[in-house]
């Protein structure tokens, strides 16, 4: 198996993901860049997106920022980033880079859910944290319990989706 990210970063990610569940999801920045993987850094947009402009003109320079720095402006209620950044970018901003999930490889492969759980903790605990979300706890269901694959909703390299909506009218904002 591949290396696991270090535990501090892990905690930060768990924390972020939990609060993100409560935020609002508005417009997004999904533009599949030509991947210049070796240079991939969440904060340095141009490293991957090259010329495409990803941020508004008056946005502060992000190159030196980490996720904590983003949060000085982007709070829970104001300018929330929830759903605006692909999951992989969040990971990058808390120093969880490509290698930390995919290992050192030229051909990164899709991960299994064990990889998520290794850092983020058990899905049962997650379900406990999100138990008050309306209209229904997104992390447990009468069908699959807490066993559904994270990646059915929380994609890292493409826009996340709400798997429940194929049958239900659950209006979740999916980070």
């Amino acid at each position: 198996m591949k290396k696991h990210p270090d535990r501090k970063a892990t905690k930060a990610v768990v924390f972020i993901f939990t609060i993100m569940m409560f935020f609002l999801f508005s417009q997004t920045l999904w533009a599949a860049p030509k991947l210049a993987q070796s240079k991939a850094k969440g904060k340095d947009c141009a490293a991957c997106h090259v010329k495409a402009k990803m941020l508004p003109d008056n946005h502060a320079d992000t190159k030196a920022m980490n996720w904590e720095a983003c949060k000085t402006c982007h709070t829970k209620d104001k300018l929330s980033l929830i759903g605006k950044l692909p999951g992989s970018h969040h990971h990058q901003l808390v120093e969880v880079n490509c290698v930390k999930c995919h290992g050192k490889t030229k051909k990164p492969e899709a991960l299994t859910m064990e990889q998520c759980v290794a850092c983020h903790g058990s899905t049962a605990k997650l379900a406990e944290k999100t138990k008050d979300i309306k209209p229904s706890n997104p992390h447990t269901s009468p069908h699959y319990g807490t066993e559904l694959d994270c990646n059915l909703c929380h994609h890292q390299h493409t826009k996340s989706e709400n798997y429940c909506t194929q049958c239900h009218k659950f209006d979740f904002k999916v980070p």
């Binding site: 309306k134 009468p142 699959y144 049958c167 239900h168």
Partner: protein, 516 residues
Amino acid sequence: MKKDDTKEKTLSRRNFLKTTGAAAVAAMAVGNLGMPAKYAQAAGDALPKKWDETYDVVVIGSGFAGLAAAIEAKNAGASVAIIEKMPTHGGNSIINGGDFCAPGTKLQQENGIPDSPELMLKDMLRAGLYLNHPENAKIVAYGAKDALEWTESYLGVKYVKIGFHGGHSVKRAHGMLNQTGAELVNKELAKVKELGIKIQLRTKLVKFISNKDGRIIGIEVRKDYKFPDEKSGKTAFLKAKRAIVLGSGGFSQDIKLRQIQDPRLTDKFGSTNQPGATGEALLAACIAGAMDVQMDWIQLGPWTSPDEKGFGFVPLFCEPLVGNGLMINPKTGKRFFKETGNRKERADAIILMGNPAIIMGDSYAVNKNVVPHAVQKGMEIGAIKKFDTLEDLAKNYDIPLDVFLKEIARWNSFVEKKKDDDFDCMIFKDTRPTATAPFYAARLWPKVHHTMGGLVIDKNAQVMGFDFKPVKGLFAAGEVSGGVHGAVRLGGVAIADCLVFGRVAGKSAAAEKPWG
């Protein structure tokens, strides 16, 4: 024209179908044009250069039927793989309402309900308009109790309630814990894992591969398939030394195929089914020589609501209420049909009416019969509503009040004497007049729910071909098969069908002589 003639004769059924496309397959299959046997004979496929994986038995579909088959095949000594095209297991079975009809069980006895397999069979045949293949229907009616006990003793499934479904003579629906088929599917899955059987998700059956005798010897699949992207995934070949069990479910979500069978069922009708309930696996079997039957008997659920998505909560509210409360046409304020009638009768009556019906019950009926969870969730979504008075209820749905109140009084008089003079609705021993506030109500509009038709199977779940001979190496069970239910599948009998024939199919597949 001589030349064309000879050409036509050498055109195998397989090639013919390939060139004319799936719609034609379906159309022809339905019409059952009586293909001469020599055309029905599968011509044999070009064999794959290499089989990627080999098993004794390959099961397609991870619902009730497929999982039951896998368990039995494994326990009979076969090596088994299960493939499933969706990213999650369980198909329609995991969103199912968890009612399992079986006659003469302990739970019925405890509740003082006399019942017998004869009576269940009689109910199935009457509802099925006697189009049921009687031998198969009988196997289900007579095997249901044993199958139910197997799920209890071998899988550990819990049944907590005995309920009624329209069209049955008695209460024989054994309600699973939490009112969901997930209770059964997940316990089947746990057993599957315990037995060491692997289930391959996102793996779609594309085609059956037969040898030159027409025997099915394996399948072509797409691995890493991302429903519904037909271009996704990679081709692989799975060899089945003994047999394939097809448990791919029904095609209620297949708008193209269902419209060929029943042109009324356009995209204007929603469905209660999971999005992957499509017919390509069934059609692939037909292309490989399997015969289909009664494909145009497609069932609409009369208890679904236009005010929520999919199956939702209203069916769980409506079904326990029939016979305890009444169904009203809001335009007239009157009842219009026997509430305890079967699904087809009721759905047809609502469609004919042309507007949604109202199902309603008072607090006594609702509290006694409906699980609180269903009422609460249905109310949160807004599909079920609560009213302090009958006047409020009438106002909300624009029901002419005078007629409505008279109709309630009339119904209540039927309840008192336990006989409905208007529509002969069943009235239960514990039914009380609709009088105790608050009152609960929901709108009803049918959705596509079940496809009775499918592949022809014999008593061993062996799939039959257009030449009336077995399609060697192919077994089928569950909703993909046809014949058990005839024109109408009664509530709670699908699970019985899936479990009884799923287990039969697994045993048969494991007992098949290996071809290589």
